[in-house]
């Protein structure tokens, strides 16, 4: 071809500009997290204190990681769902189902069977959601609302509404309360899941397809992307993440509380995704951003406890912080600065 290629700018590719640290998309979520930690550390002396106790790292920071683990798992799944322009409000119900199934089976069938069955149940939930959204074409919020309402009922049905306490086997508690090399097992679970997911997104075309479906489903179909299969996949993945989160929670409190486990976890997960910079109308996503978002939420909660904020004020404090973080992330600041 002979068409003259006109070079536009003297500066090499625009990626150079994005490489400046403060223009990195993760910069602002990270800054928000750091600021929160700094505020907590200043107002509560010893908030960042870490020590080794019984061979474990002990301190608020470990707690934050530990407590944020279920939310991080849920947020990872929610990230992908949101990237396809969907939403999954059944996450909390799936947490309840998986935790309950595990606790029901733990004593009688052993931990392996219990955990397997719990994840199996979560898988079924995901298949159901996927079927409704991708197969039947229901709007995601309604499709998952069905499971959100009925799922908790199913979990309660399994336990007759009781809180089921697990006394043994002790290995049941390892997942949610055990420690390896001084860090909680849940930390490794999240790292593993996040790592695998990142690998899946990087080393296969899944990430590309998910974004494509989220940004322009019509064009995606015409380009030959299996849109329905992709949508199906993200709901299954999200459910599995929620199922794992349910295992962490019930293993941690050694019981299944069908009515309260993971209550409103879906909202927190969505919040985590948005705090991490994700767009709810689909498209570009950042797994790391969502994880940071989850950490922001948990740090906020922990800081509120540590500061001794009275419970009736907690909500207002949370709201103010969320507003502040969001506004600080607004794109209008960068637009101003670039001028």
């Amino acid at each position: 071809m002979s068409s003259p290629t006109v070079t536009l700018t003297p500066t090499p590719p625009s990626a150079a500009a994005a490489r400046r640290p403060w223009q990195h998309p993760l910069f602002r979520p990270l800054a928000a997290l750091a600021l929160l930690l700094a505020i907590a550390a200043i107002s509560v002396p010893g908030f960042l204190h870490l020590e080794i106790k019984d061979g474990r790292l002990y301190g608020n920071l470990v707690d934050i990681l530990h407590r944020a683990a279920p939310l991080m798992l849920a947020a990872l799944g929610m990230t992908l769902v949101i990237a396809t322009r969907g939403i999954d409000v059944s996450v909390g119900a799936i947490v309840a189902i998986s935790g309950t199934v595990a606790c029901v089976l733990a004593a009688s069938h052993g931990v392996a069977v219990a955990f397997g069955a719990a994840l199996g149940a979560a898988l079924l939930c995901g298949l159901w959601n996927g079927l409704l959204v991708a197969g039947l074409g229901l709007q995601p919020i309604i499709a998952t609302l069905i499971l959100m309402v009925a799922g908790r009922g199913l979990a309660q049905l399994l336990t007759d509404g009781q809180i089921l306490t697990v006394y043994e086997p002790a290995s049941f508690f390892w997942l949610g309360a055990g420690y390896v090399l001084g860090l909680p097992v849940s930390f490794y679970v999240v790292a593993l899941v996040a790592g695998l997911t990142a690998l899946l997104m990087k080393r296969t075309a899944l990430g590309l397809f998910i974004q494509t479906v989220g940004i322009n489903p019509v064009a995606a179909r015409l380009a030959g992307v299996r849109t329905a299969a992709i949508v199906f996949f993200v709901y299954v993945y999200c459910s599995l993440g929620a199922g794992l989160a349910g295992l962490l929670i019930s293993s941690n409190i050694k019981s299944a509380d069908a009515n309260n486990a993971g209550l409103l976890l879906e909202l927190d997960a969505i919040l985590a995704v948005t705090l991490g910079g994700g767009q709810l109308n689909g498209g570009k996503f950042s797994l790391a951003g969502s994880l940071i978002g989850a950490l922001i939420i948990q740090t906020l909660t922990s800081a509120i406890y540590a500061l001794g904020v009275p419970p009736q004020v907690t909500m207002v404090v949370k709201a103010v912080v969320v507003f502040a973080v969001c506004i600080s992330q607004s794109s209008i600041w960068s637009a101003r600065r670039s001028k």
Binding site: S3, V6, S14, A205, L208, F209, A219
Partner: protein, 513 residues
């Protein structure tokens, strides 16, 4: 109002940059009342950006906009409208969910007793569309109509309210000749009433047919302002390209290829309300052109060939085997590629990079396994960017930041990358500049007529520009009223005889659907 020596609108020293891209630098432009002013330039020269700055969609980094001697600073499109500037932007920017009439009247509804007077709305819309000879159901949602109709609606919206300045950014890119003529009639009338009209197009014929004055832009700068009468075509092209005068690129090979073996045959392909039964043969090494007017069913035929819509009836035979498409995937797997006319809604994945957009179809065919390493992807993308002359800061730039014509080229690259056996191009020349268009047509013919003796692709070429179709195709299928009206070999037809076929007595059942 008669000709005055004062420009109604004057832009001076306009600068605008995006992160990493300097789109406009020191651009100036003058618009006089009662003139049609053509804004010319290659893809990515900055025409659309200039228009967006002028209408308040973008804020300039520097520069002044003067309307009637008064400096204005439109912050929003509303402001520009309030100043009497009406604009049709490059892509169709209307709301697909609203009715045609609403799209035309939104913002200024006729009212009665404090409520919208729907009867007046519809009547108004019909009236403006009538000016352009378009008789459609204005109460139907806009999304029901093809892109070309939508483009007419967008123009109608701008024409409805009398204004001081009318700006049209590539309004004719998917209109057929007849529609363009009707539009020009209207524009001429408005010009004679003293309106200042700014007009962007890549069609030189149209430029000379209507404009009085031409401003040429190159690389985000004003190259110069000329009287249309003083500037020859060749000079114009050279000013746009910025190259010294060279020979007209008439490299087009005129071999009337007999075509290779039959690759795909279609019998009785039909879809209710869209296409009457259609028979078609595609041969390797041959370009089949589809000619016809607005709504003649070319797009529908292409979509059915590709499985984008489900056919009600008909058989597809591919290399002797009967096939059915459940979805475009099946067609792609069989080696068919389809480049849609509606790049905004059916083509570009706006937030993704040029590289990802180019690779998408190839990757989708490969499945989840990466089709190539990151370096190979980069190399492939860079290769097409160079070959097709896509003007982009880098392969990592989001495709949404490219100019319209460059997006179109990137989408073409997407399908070329799959190395299809059948390439269906629906209005591929839409919005690309003169030089690129010629290059594209060369490329299309080269794809079909492979040099090394092997049969190339079977190409289906759809364009509303009759000369392009005739120029490019080995065989032309003329369509009318959603059915084939005749098939001709290269050389059997000239422009006039095709027009005669098209304009033959209207089929009685045309008005259905």
């Amino acid at each position: 109002m008669t000709t005055t020596t004062h420009p109604v609108l004057e832009l001076a020293g306009i600068h605008k940059s995006f992160p990493g891209v300097k789109a406009l630098s020191d651009v100036s432009l003058r618009l006089f009342p009662g003139e049609v002013h053509a804004l010319m330039g290659q893809n990515g020269a900055g025409k659309s950006t200039l228009i967006k700055v002028l209408t308040g969609l973008y804020q300039p980094d520097a520069g002044t906009i003067t309307l009637d001697g008064q400096a204005i600073q439109p912050k929003r499109t509303e402001d520009a409208q309030a100043h009497g500037i009406r604009t049709v932007y490059q892509e169709v920017n209307l709301c697909p969910n609203l009715s045609v009439a609403e799209n035309i009247c939104a913002g200024r509804f006729p009212r009665k007793w404090g409520r919208i007077d729907w009867a007046a709305v519809n009547a108004d819309a019909e009236r403006v569309l009538k000016q352009m000879d378009l008789d459609i159901d204005v109460t139907a949602p806009l999304s029901r109509y093809s892109l070309s109709v939508q483009q007419m609606v967008a123009i109608a919206r701008a024409l409805r309210i009398s204004a001081r300045v009318l700006i049209l950014d590539e309004p004719t890119s998917s209109l057929d000749d007849a529609a363009v003529q009707r539009l020009f009639t209207v524009l001429k009338r408005l010009r004679d009433q003293g309106l200042a009209i700014l007009f962007v197009t890549h069609f030189l014929d149209q430029t000379y047919a209507i404009s009085d004055r031409i401003t040429v832009m190159r690389n985000g700068e004003t190259e110069g302002e000329y009287l249309a009468a003083d500037l020859g075509r060749l000079a114009l092209v050279n000013k746009m390209v910025g190259a010294p005068p060279d020979q007209q690129p008439t490299r087009l090979d005129s071999r009337a290829s007999a075509g290779g073996d039959t690759f795909m045959t279609v019998e009785g392909l039909a879809r209710r309300g869209a296409l009457q039964p259609l028979d078609l043969t595609l041969r390797r090494g041959e370009v089949l052109g589809l000619a016809g007017l607005l709504g003649s069913g070319r797009t529908e035929a292409a979509r059915l060939l590709f499985g984008a819509d489900a056919a009600d009836a008909g058989h597809i035979t591919l290399q002797g085997r009967a096939r059915r498409w459940q979805s475009p995937r099946d067609a792609i797997a069989a080696g068919i590629a389809f480049c849609s006319e509606d790049r905004k809604h059916e083509g570009a994945i706006l937030d993704l990079s040029v590289r990802e957009n180019i690779l998408l179809a190839l990757q989708a065919r490969t499945g989840l396994r990466l089709c190539m390493s990151h370096e190979q992807q980069q190399a492939l993308a860079d290769d097409y960017i160079r070959k097709l002359g896509i003007k982009t800061a880098s392969a990592d730039t989001p495709i949404g930041q490219l100019s319209g014509g460059n997006q179109q080229k990137a989408l073409l690259a997407r399908w070329l990358a799959t190395q299809p056996a059948v390439l269906i191009l629906d209005e591929p020349t839409r919005g690309i500049d003169v030089r690129a268009k010629e290059d594209l047509m060369d490329q299309v013919r080269a794809l079909a007529h492979a040099e090394d003796g092997q049969a190339g692709m079977a190409v289906v070429f759809i364009s509303s520009e009759l000369p392009e179709v005739l120029h490019c195709s080995d065989r032309v299928l003329v369509m009318r009223d959603r059915r084939a009206a005749g098939e001709y070999r290269r050389g059997e037809l000239d422009e006039r005889s095709v027009l005669e076929v098209i304009a033959a007595e209207p089929a009685p059942q045309a008005a259905t659907a």
